[in-house]
Symmetry: D2
Subunit: 411 residues, 4 copies
C-alpha cells in the first residue's frame, strides 16, 4: 500500500521568478508585453491531425477568435486534408469569428482529419498550394509552430491532462451504466466495456472511479492473466457467485501481450505508424465465454459494448470548453511572443509553455504503484494479479529532473 510521507507538504505558491530556480520549471504561458509579430502580417494556419477527440472544434473556434479579438489577426486558414469543406474556409474566404461562431456545439472537426502518414505531405502540399511557404521564404519571414497535444487518452506527460479527456470519461459512463443494467438483468450476467487507451489506462481508470459499477478494470500498465489461481477467470467466478453479475472495463491496449499473434509486422502497423491493436474487448469476451461454457459448464450471459466512436464524436462538455479556451489562448500568446516549437498546458494548474521534446520523450502512464490506481483497485475489489515486488520489477527509473528553463524563442 501507498503511504504519504508524514512530512510531505504542498506549496501554495508555485509561480516563481527565474532566480529561485530549483528543479525543472517551464515558462509561464500568457500575454507578453512585447509582441513579436505584426498583426496585419500574420498568416495563421490551423491543422487537426489524428482521430477525433471532443473539443477539436472548440479549439479551432478559440484560436480563430483569440487571434482576431486579442491581436487583430484576420488571416486565419484551416488546412484541409482533401478539399475545402462546405463553405467554411478558403484562401479568399478566411476563417472569421462569425463563420465559426457555433462550431463548438458540434462534435468532430470542421476540417477533415485522419490518422495516417499521408497527412504531413498533404499538409505541406496544402500550404504550398496556397503559396504560403514561397512567400515565407521570399520575404525571410519567421514561422512559429505551436502544437496542442490532441489525445483523448490523456497520455501526454508534464501537463495535468489533455483536452477532451473529461468529456470522454463523462460519456463513458453511459456505456458502463448500460453494461451494468444488462448484466443485472440476467443470470450470471457479465458486461464488458472496451474504452480508449492504447498505452495508458486513464480513461478506463477514471471512468471506473466515476461510475462505481465496475468490478474489474484492466489497463495496459497493469499486467494480468486469465487462468489459474489469482487469475481473471477465478475472480469472475467469485464475483458471479457473490453477486450474480459483474462489469469489466478493459482499456484498448490492456493485455496486448496475451493476445495471440502479437508479432508486430507491417500488417498491423496503421497509417500513423501506430501498432494496430487487436480488439482486446472482443478477444476477452470470447475467452470468458469459452472458459465458462466449455470448461466450467456455467451458463453466462456476456454482453460486449464498444462505445469508442460514440465517445469520440460528442461535443466537448463545459469543462473541456473552458479548458480549450485556455489552451488556445496560451498557444496564441506564446506564438505572438515569438516562441516556437512548443506545446502548452497546465503544470500543477498553472498554464505553461513546454518544449516539444518534453512531451514526446515519454508517455504519460497510470503509475500503478501510485494512489489513483490504488483507489481504483479499492473501488472494484479486483485482484492485483501480481505482487508489489513483481510489479515493481516492471517499472523503470522515471527520473527526468534537471535544473533549467529552456529557451523557446525564435532565433
Amino acid at each position: 500500500m501507498y503511504f504519504v510521507d508524514v512530512d510531505d507538504i504542498v506549496a501554495e505558491k508555485i509561480v516563481v521568478s527565474k532566480e529561485s530556480l530549483r528543479g525543472t520549471h517551464f515558462r509561464r504561458a500568457g500575454p507578453r508585453q512585447k509582441v513579436y509579430f505584426e498583426s496585419d502580417e500574420v498568416h495563421a494556419c490551423i491543422v487537426t491531425c489524428g482521430g477525433l477527440c471532443p473539443g477539436l472544434n472548440t479549439m479551432i473556434r478559440e484560436i480563430v477568435c483569440g487571434l482576431y479579438h486579442m491581436y487583430g489577426v484576420t488571416g486565419v486558414l484551416g488546412i484541409e486534408v482533401r478539399r475545402i469543406k462546405r463553405f467554411l474556409c478558403s484562401k479568399h474566404n478566411p476563417l472569421t469569428p462569425k463563420v465559426i461562431n457555433d462550431i463548438h456545439k458540434r462534435g468532430g472537426t470542421i476540417f477533415e482529419t485522419s490518422r495516417g502518414g499521408h497527412d504531413t505531405s498533404k499538409i505541406v502540399d496544402s500550404i504550398q498550394d496556397r503559396g504560403i511557404n514561397q512567400e515565407i521564404r521570399r520575404r525571410g519571414l519567421k514561422v512559429a509552430v505551436v502544437g496542442i497535444p490532441k489525445t483523448i487518452d490523456n497520455d501526454i506527460p508534464v501537463i495535468d491532462k489533455s483536452f477532451g479527456f473529461d468529456t470522454a470519461v463523462e460519456e463513458a459512463q453511459r456505456a458502463i451504466t448500460a453494461a451494468h443494467v444488462e448484466s443485472e438483468s440476467t443470470e450470471n450476467g457479465i458486461g464488458v466495456v472496451k474504452l480508449m487507451g492504447r498505452h495508458s489506462g486513464f480513461i478506463a481508470m477514471y471512468a471506473t472511479l466515476a461510475s462505481r459499477d465496475v468490478d474489474c478494470c484492466l489497463i495496459p500498465e497493469s499486467p494480468f492473466y486469465l487462468e489459474g489461481p489469482g487469475g481473471l477467470f477465478e475472480y469472475i467466478e467469485k464475483r458471479l457467485n457473490e453477486n450474480g453479475h459483474m462489469v469489466i472495463v478493459v482499456a484498448e491496449g490492456a493485455g496486448q501481450e496475451l493476445l495471440s499473434g502479437n508479432t508486430c509486422t507491417m500488417d498491423n502497423i496503421d497509417a500513423s505508424g501506430n501498432k494496430q491493436l487487436q480488439d482486446v474487448g472482443f478477444w476477452i469476451s470470447q475467452k470468458i465465454k469459452d472458459h465458462f461454457s466449455k470448461k466450467q459448464k456455467l451458463t453466462i450471459n456476456l454482453k460486449y459494448i464498444d462505445p469508442t466512436y460514440m465517445i469520440c464524436a460528442v461535443p466537448s462538455n463545459a469543462s473541456d470548453n473552458v479548458y480549450c479556451t485556455l489552451l488556445a489562448h496560451s498557444a496564441i500568446h506564446g506564438a505572438m511572443a515569438g516562441y516556437t516549437g512548443f506545446t502548452v498546458g497546465p503544470v500543477n494548474g498553472k498554464h505553461s509553455c513546454i518544449p516539444f521534446q518534453r512531451i514526446t520523450e515519454r508517455q504519460n502512464k497510470v503509475v500503478i504503484t501510485d494512489r489513483m490506481w490504488a483507489r481504483c483497485l479499492s473501488s472494484t475489489n479486483q485482484p492485483s494479479f501480481f505482487s508489489p515486488k513483481q510489479l515493481f520489477a516492471k517499472i523503470g527509473d522515471e527520473k527526468h529532473g534537471d535544473n533549467h528553463v529552456e529557451d523557446l524563442a525564435i532565433k
Copy 2:
C-alpha cells in the same frame, strides 16, 4: 409511387357498439362495472421474458400500483428466473407500491430475464414452489392470463406500437449522430450503424426519418444487393463522390439471405427458438471495406457502431412511461373483468383487448409499398434496388379481416 385515393376518408369516431359491426373489431379496454375476482383473493404473478426493452420496470411498477390502488390487490409476486433478487420480493414479502416506487427511473428489469426456452419450465417451477397452482386446483379457482407484448422491434401486428419503441428510436439518434460526425471528419468517411430489428425494420426506418443524417437504410423487408448496377456499392461510390461521406443504417435482420452460411441449423437457433442472425453490421462493413480497398483502390474510412445494448438498457422516456401505464391498466381491468388469453394495446389510438392468436398469427412488418417507407427512401435518396414489380412479387396476400368480436371471457 403510392397515391391516396381521392375518396378515402378517415372516421372521427371509431368506438362503436356491437350492433353496428362491420369489419374486425376488438373489445375496448377499460374498467368494467362488474368485477370478476374478489380483490382479497387475487394472487397476481408477474414475469418478464426475453431481452431487455425500455419500460419493463415501468410496466412492473404500474401493474403493482394499479392492482393495489384500483382494486385493492396486495398479493403481487414477481417470478424470478433464478432466485430472489435483492430484497425486493418474496412469498412473505410481496411487491408493494412503496417497494417499487422508483424502479421506472432505472433501465433493465428488477427481475432477471433471459432469452431462452428454459424460462417456461422455470416459471412453472417457480409458481409450483410457491404452492400457487395446487391451491388453484384444489379450490377450483379460475386464472386469467394476460400478456403485454414486449418487443423493442415493434413487430407486433394489430396494435399501434409496442412499448419501448419510442425510447429506442430516440436513443438510436445518438449512435447515428456519432456515425455522422465520424464520417464527416474524414476523407471518404462511412459510418455504419446496426440497429435492432430481426424481422422488421421499424427502428431503423423511424431512426432514419428522425435523424435526417442517414444516406441509406437497409431493412429485412426490403431486399438489396451489393455488386453491379443499382447495387449498394455503386450507390456508396456515388454518395462519396457527391458528398465525401455517408451514413448507413442497417437493421439486425437485413440482408440475411446474402450472408454466407445462411443455412438454418440447430447451431444457430438460440435458446428462445429464434434463428441466430449473423452480425450483418460487421459483415456489411467488411464487404464494403474489401470492395473499395481491393477492387476500387479507394481509401475509405469506415466506422462501425453497434449501439444495441446501450439502447436496450436505457430507462423509458416520458412518452413510453405514460404508454406503459395505459397498457398496464388495460391489462389489469381486462383480467379483473374475467377475460383471459389476451393482450392489450391501442388500435387506431383506442386501447383494446386482443386475443393472443391475433398477434401471434403474423408479424408486423414495414410495408415497403406503403407511405412510411416511401418517405424513408425519399429522405435518404437511396436506390430502391428492385423494381416495384419485383417487390410486389415478394408481398403475399395480407387479408385477415372478418366480421366478429372474439369472446375473451373465462369459461
Copy 3:
C-alpha cells in the same frame, strides 16, 4: 368512476370510401395522382407565428425538403417578421435543402417569431415587398393556404396531438425531478413546478403521469380551492405528515378564477389577443407559504420552478421529428392537390386534411370525467375538490357530429 360499456368495440379499419359515410369524416391526407399546380411556377412562403415550440425548425426543413424533393419546387421563401436573419433566405436566395439541412438539430426557429397582432400585417407587408401578391393578381393565380397548428399546449381539437407536445412532456420531467429532489432533501419540502397550458392541462397531466413524482396536478379544466375541508391546504398538510415532502404541478391557466384582480381589461390582453394570465405558480407558492408560516406555524421549505422557456427552446425529440415530417408532407400534398383553408393532422392515427373552422370552433381540453384524468388522479392520490355532480354541471354539451366531408378544393 368512469366505466367502459361492456359492448364498446374498436374498429380495426377506419379508412373508408365516401359511400359508406356515417358520422364526421375528413379527407385522407397524402399524395394525389392529380397535381393542381405546376411545380416550376410555385412560390411557397413559410411563416412561423406565436411563441416557440419544439419542432418549428424541423417543420421548416421538411416543408422545404418535401417541396423540393417530392414536387421539384425550388422557390421557397421564409417570411421574416423584421428582417432577413443571417444569410439564410432572401428573394434572390431562396431556402434550399442544402441551406436548411441541419436546422432541425437546433431549438427555436430560424425565422423570427413573436406573439402579437402585428404579425398579420407584417406578413402581408412582407409578401407585398416581394411583389408576390401583385403577381398573383396580375396573373390570376390561385393561392393555397395551409396551416399547421403550432401550440405546445396540445389544445387543438380533432387531431390526435400537436407537434412539440411530446418533447415538452419529456423536457418537463427534468423540472419535476429537480422539484422532487429539492423537496425530498428538506424538512416539509414542497416543490412547485409551473408548466405550460393556458386553457388546457395536457402537458401538466402527461408530465404528471410520466414522472410519478407528483402529488398534486392542478389544471385549468379542473377547478379547486385552497382553504377548508377538501381544499388544497388540507391535502398539503396531509401529504407532509404522511411523507415529509411533496411535489405540486400547476398548469399556467389553472385556478385563474381564484387569482385576485381577475377582471379582463385591455391591460392584461397581450398583443396576440390572449388574456394575460397572472403567474399562478408564483401566486400559489406565496399562498402556501403564507398559510403555513402564518396560520399553521409550520416551517415549510417551498421551492418554485418555472421551466417554461427552457422547455420551449429545446430541439424536438425523435418522435416529434418524425411527426413533423408527416405533417409537413400532408400539408404539401394537400396544397399541391389544390386544397386550401385547411390544416393537417392525424385523426385516430390516420393523417387527414381538416377545414380550419373545425379546429378553431373549439379548444381541445382535458375531459375531467374521462379516463386519462382519472388515471392522473389515481397516480397522485390528490383530492378531486368537487363532487362528480358539481363537475358535471360545468361541462356543456360537446356534440359536433354531422354527416359530411367538406370540400377543400380551390374554386
Copy 4:
C-alpha cells in the same frame, strides 16, 4: 490588460519535504503509516448542512465505503435533521456500502438538509440522542472533526475548486442555450439567466466562458451601473442594434448595492445568517423592460430564466464523482491519522489538509484584474463599466502568506 512577467516560471514538482520550507505550505493528504484510531472503536457521524449541491450523495457514499473498505470501520451513522429518512440508516442499522451503493446516481442528499441556524443544535441533539457524546466523555475518547466545504459557488479560498462546481457549470449551459434560442427567435430578444453566486461570480464566469452565447456577464466582484454612457442600457442598445438579440448572465449577488431597500435588517437575514439577497434577475429584467418600453419606445422581448433549483438538484457528473472520492479519502485518511479541525482539498492539484481558519478567514472571489475575468470580458465584448484605476481602488491587499505548516494533530 494583464501581462505575464517574462521571467515567470512554473515549478513541475511542488511536493517538498519540511526542510525546504518557503512560503505557506499545507500537509499533504493521504494515508499515513501510523493510524491513530482503532477501527472497531470508531463511531463516524456524517451530517450535511446548507442547500443542495451536486455530489452530496457521492460524498456520503465515499465516506461510508472508504471507512469500511480502507479501515474496516462499520459504525457509520448519518445525522438527520428531523427523522430517519426511509430505511436507510438508524442506530441499529448503520450505513453500509451495500445500503448506499447507488445513491451517487441521484441528486440531492439522502439526509435532510436545510439552510438554517437550527441545524447546529439539532445535530448536537441528534448526537446526544444516540448517546454518542456521553460515551465519548466517559471513556475519554478523542474526536476528530473534518469538514468538506460544500458550496456550489466555489467561494472557498486556498483549494483549487469546490465539489459540485463542475456539474453546476455544465448544467448551467442548458439554461444559457435556452436563453440564446429564445432571444434569437424574436425581434430584440433578450435572454436573462440568473446563476448561483452570492459573493463570487465563478459559476457565472465559467458558464459564460463555456457557452460562448453570452453577451454580458454580471458578477458580484465587478460593479456596474445601468444608466448613462458606458452603462448597461447603452450596451444592450448597442448589441440589439448590431445583432438583434442578446443573452445576459447575472450572478445571484451581482449589483446588490444597486437594488433598492438594500439595508440589511433582520428581515432579510435568513436562518443561516446569510443576508437574503433580493432577486437580482427579476429586478434587472424589470429595469431593462421599463427602460426600453417607457424611455426608449423600443419593443424588446425579454425572457428571464432562473435555473437555480434545477442545477442544484442534478446528480454529480463523472468529474465531480471522482473528485468527491478524492476528497472523501483525504478526509478519512486525515481523521484516521489523528488530525482534527481541518478541511481537505487540492492545492495546485495536490490534495492537502488545511486548517479551518485558512478557509474561513476570507472568501474565494473572482479577481477582476486577473486573467480569467479578462478572458470572460473578451469572450462577451461587454464594457468594463469602470476604469482599471477605479477597479483597483476597490481591491484591498490580499496578502496572507506566512512561512509555516500548522499542526493539525489531536492533542
